[in-house]
Amino acid sequence: MRLNPDFIKHDTDKGAVLIAVGKTGEKFKGMVNINKTGSFIVDHLKEETTFETLLADIMKEYDIDEETAKNDLDAFLAGLRKIKAVLE
């Protein structure tokens, strides 16, 4: 999986947001606020990756147990899939 190239992460003083450009931006005009971990995941989705690799990356970066990391990653990816921000 990887990030749909029509989606870009924009960093601000207050955090990061995900917005869409191009044809995708004509349909998804809004934005998604993302926290530090979300920002980390989006950065890693810029290259082709897998759920397992992302999970390992998160556990390496943050001090959390596997179950929590798995649930958080699942929920975050579900949100991205809903707005077609992830290409499988």
Partner: protein, 236 residues
Amino acid sequence: METFYLSIAKKIIKVSSLHEAVKTYCQDFLVERCPEDYALEISQEDIEYERGLNEYPFTDDVLEITALHRKIAETLYRDDIIAFHGSAIKYQGNAYLYTARSGVGKSTHTNLIKEQLKDEMIWINDDKPFIEVKKNQITLYSSPFNGKERRGCNTFAPLKAITQIKRGTENYVNEIEPVVFFPLLVSQCYKGRTPEMASRVMDLLDLLSTKIHCYEIYCRPDIEAAEVSIREILKK
């Protein structure tokens, strides 16, 4: 191929269009031939891009007008000028922008304000104005792209407030924190087709949100809604 010169947001734009109807559409913004800031050419490929975004089978000349707006927006952002969606009016020398998702009633609301204020209010642009975002001044400019009713004129004014219109059973206004209002600004402006433009527009929206008043008005499509809008936003 038709070539003409437009002045939009104080920038001179040389346009080469495929259909004469585009020049006619832009007639209030035409200027004599002069050194241009930017030169834009609309191609059949641009028209086909617009066709791909529309379900309704618009004719090529109509799609070329949309393509021209897109190209102008993708040019002027470099001068800190962003394309917005909304109904902009001028009252006592200041601009006020009313915005909402399509179909909520922007034009209906500003029309009701017009009924109340008559010649005290003018439409700047009823669909796609441009906003210049500078640290010391936010200015709203009209554009030829002024909606189905073609309400608007070639003018500009300092932008005082942006108001989101929401349908309600009562008429009332809330002033909104910029951080809360920000997602609406993002959804109602054109962010372009490249990450470079989108990032720049986001930075400009950040600045814009701190320089103007942000309101939401819950309203019915009645004259009392206009009275509340005038009292709580325009005369505040």
